[in-house]
């Protein structure tokens, strides 16, 4: 009898502790919040907050606590902030990461140290290939993929001689490798500029004019893209040589570029007008909340939170069940803004890539619209170097 009472009591205690143990989900978000690129981080934070609003600020029964950290666009700072999130704040997920070089510097401070790491933008080849890890996921793409799609587009357009410009850092190199993988014509010139210091491209633009290519392809994320487009037009090249880009024109730069970018073509995995329910809700509510069109950075950040939610709810808020959360995330079982997709063995999405064009919407705002699908269910070329299988 006494044993029975003890048994009931301990059962009751267990139940109580189960309820009390619905631990708060702690999510670190490392992005750039100050300086010229601060606007990007700002956009990502707005998207994260919108995602949490959509979830009612809860994942299942668990509360959510966000830790936003500013990497100030510097790999060393990003690594410090990642370490702080992992060791001091003991986050369950460390996410964000705009820049490939910041991600590469931060990776070893998070992966294998407890939390899951989810990149919301950067996709350097190494983390998709040899360095792939069971605790590392992406809600964006691998760097090469978007420019591989651009290479196909350039082939279809019959471009024979191409001039490429990109910043000299890990993502810039990946983007150039990507387009070179698929482009069948000749690359007659290539300039890798100092990043992020170089903002004046006069010398390179003069070389482009002298080289007379059929087309120019650039990758200049953030403010660099804005300045490149301006200077390209001021140099009188806009009407002479067609300019194609990737990750260069976004919803932050479009209201400022206006007609300079109108009609400009780029490749991307997503666009604000992509036709699915999750995306329609995201874009509409984001515009209501901020008055701006979301950037692709924002879209990917929204998906990061939704992916985490799918993991937390799958294990009923038991954050110690890492295997359960990993298996849930591998299913990509959440309403993604890109529509349904599958994860490859390296935890990078296998997804479509589209050709997008800059247009004006019904109210006269500048935005991008999908022209056609370039790749269907495309997997990155590094997946085969990843030893992981599941």
């Amino acid at each position: 009898m006494r044993l029975g009472i003890l048994g009931t009591l301990s059962l009751a205690l267990m139940l109580i502790s189960q309820v009390a143990l619905a631990e708060t989900v702690r999510i670190g978000f490392v992005t750039t919040l100050t300086g010229g690129a601060g606007a990007i981080g700002n956009d990502m934070r707005d998207a994260v907050e919108l995602a949490l609003d959509h979830l009612g600020r809860k994942m299942g029964d668990s509360d959510v606590k966000m830790f936003y950290e500013d990497d100030t666009f510097k790999p060393a700072v990003g690594k410090q902030k990642t370490e702080k999130l992992v060791k001091k704040d003991k986050v369950h997920f460390v996410t964000g990461y705009i820049w490939s070089h910041v991600l590469m510097a931060s990776r070893n401070s998070a992966v294998g140290k407890g939390p899951f790491m989810i990149t919301s933008n950067a996709g350097p080849g190494a983390v998709a290939g040899k360095l792939c890890h069971e605790d590392f996921f992406s809600t964006s793409w691998q760097n090469d993929q978007t420019t591989m799609a651009m290479g196909e587009v350039l082939n279809q357009l019959g471009i024979k001689n191409l001039y490429i410009m990109a910043p000299n850092y890990s993502a810039g190199k990946s983007m150039v490798i990507g387009v070179s993988r698929t482009f069948k014509g000749k690359i007659i010139g290539k300039d890798m500029t100092k990043f992020p210091a170089q903002l004046d491209f006069s010398a390179e633009l003069a070389k482009i004019r002298a080289a007379k290519p059929d087309a120019v392809f650039v990758f200049y994320p953030g403010k660099h893209g804005l300045q490149f487009f301006k200077q390209y037009s001021q140099a009188g090249l806009k009407d002479e040589i067609p300019l194609y880009s990737a990750f260069t024109v976004d919803s932050l730069s479009l209201p400022r570029l206006k007609d300079l970018a109108l009609g400009s073509l780029m490749t991307q995995f997503w666009a604000p007008d992509l036709d699915n329910a999750a995306n329609k809700r995201f874009v509409a509510d984001y515009r209501k909340k901020t008055g701006r069109y979301p950037t692709f950075y924002a879209a990917q950040s929204y998906d990061t939170i939704m992916l985490i939610n799918s993991a937390v709810t799958a294990v009923g808020g038991d954050l110690s069940n890492k295997d359960g959360m990993r298996n849930a995330m591998r299913k990509a079982n959440f309403p993604s803004i890109r529509g349904p997709f599958k994860y490859g063995n390296n935890h990078f999405p296998i997804q479509n890539f589209y050709l997008r064009k800059v247009v004006k919407d019904a109210e006269g705002n500048y935005t991008t619209s999908i022209v056609k699908t370039v790749y269907t269910n495309h997997q990155d070329p590094y997946a085969k170097d990843c030893k992981m299988s599941w």
Binding site: D200, S202, E204
Partner: protein, 307 residues
């Protein structure tokens, strides 16, 4: 060798040099005369751009906007000097570096609060937004020609001011021997305020000139400030002439190096190596030049007399 390309790159180097000169002239005066290391000079550059962007929006004219922004920058500099910097003159250089670095952070946040994080743009008048045909069929952006013209005009006016007027005489005297100037009964505080205001206006002018090419952004002055310090070290601290010559040299080497180094390297090593090494080496060129000048002429190319 493509001569038209070389000519165009020379023009580009010249234009970059002129922009550096506008910044360096103010910095070298402040450093040389007031013995103040002002890391916040880049913030003045940024303020110039933001003022010009705002006034351009109000008046719908870039010319009017720039004309209004110029005195605004000068006033801003004078207020900054009176409130924050005058307490630093007797402190060590390290204290000045710390304090003016703090000012950079302060101004970056200040700009974010007032103008927001996204940055601004200055639309150019139709006439200046395209390119024009020069001699030998060279096409060159019209606004970059304006920068060159404005820079040469400012250099000429500065020359007149420094070598033909009484205030210029005091500036020259201050650059060579500060204590003697104050010992002779010159109101050194007033001179400092004037010099700082002038430096702020020049930095602001550089910001306004750069803004339509690049964009008006938080922290836009930080990268260019480092190169500006290289310029004044090469030119000789306190010398406007030195700043002018050194700015043109640095502008030319940086631009031409960026443009031709990959090809030149490609003659000696494989293309892959050249592609990787060239951006690294070309961004080092001006520092190599600075090290050479420091080794040969530690005072810089044109040190003010008496130092």
């Amino acid at each position: 060798m493509n001569w038209i390309l070389l000519l165009e790159q020379t023009l580009n180097g010249f234009q970059f040099g002129i922009l550096l000169f506008l910044l360096a002239a103010g910095l070298t005066l402040i450093f040389g005369i007031m013995d103040l290391i002002n890391l916040a000079h880049g913030s003045l550059y940024m303020m110039g751009a933001y003022f010009a962007a705002t006034f351009t929006e109000w008046t719908d004219s870039f010319l009017l906007g720039a004309l209004l922004a110029l005195p605004a920058c000068m006033l801003f500099g004078v207020i900054l000097e009176r409130i924050a910097l005058k307490t630093l003159y007797t402190r060590s250089h390290l204290d000045q570096v710390l304090a003016t670095f703090g000012l950079i952070l302060f101004f970056n946040e200040f700009v974010r609060l007032i103008w927001g994080p996204i940055g601004l743009d200055i639309p150019l008048p139709e006439l200046l937004s395209g390119s024009v045909e020069l001699f030998f069929g060279i096409r060159y952006p019209a606004f970059r020609l304006v920068i060159i013209a404005v820079g040469i005009l400012v250099a000429f006016l500065l020359y007149l001011l420094v070598s033909k007027t009484r205030i210029g005489m005091l500036i020259r005297a201050g650059a060579s021997n500060r204590q003697m100037v104050s010992a002779l009964g010159v109101n050194i505080n007033l001179l400092y305020t004037i010099v700082f205001g002038l430096g702020a206006a020049l930095a602001g002018l550089a910001g306004m000139m750069a803004a339509p090419i690049m964009t008006v952004e938080i922290g836009m002055g930080e990268g260019i400030l480092i190169i500006t310090f290289v310029v004044i070290v090469i030119g000789g601290v306190g010398s406007i002439k030195g700043a002018f010559v050194a700015a043109l040299i640095v502008g030319f080497i940086d631009t031409v190096g960026r443009s031709f180094l990959p090809d030149i390297l490609g003659l000696f090593v494989s293309n892959d190596v050249a592609d990787t090494a060239a951006p690294a080496i070309s961004s080092m060129l001006i520092y190599i030049l600075m090290a050479l000048i420091l080794a040969i002429k530690p005072q810089g190319l044109f040190p003010p007399k008496g130092t």
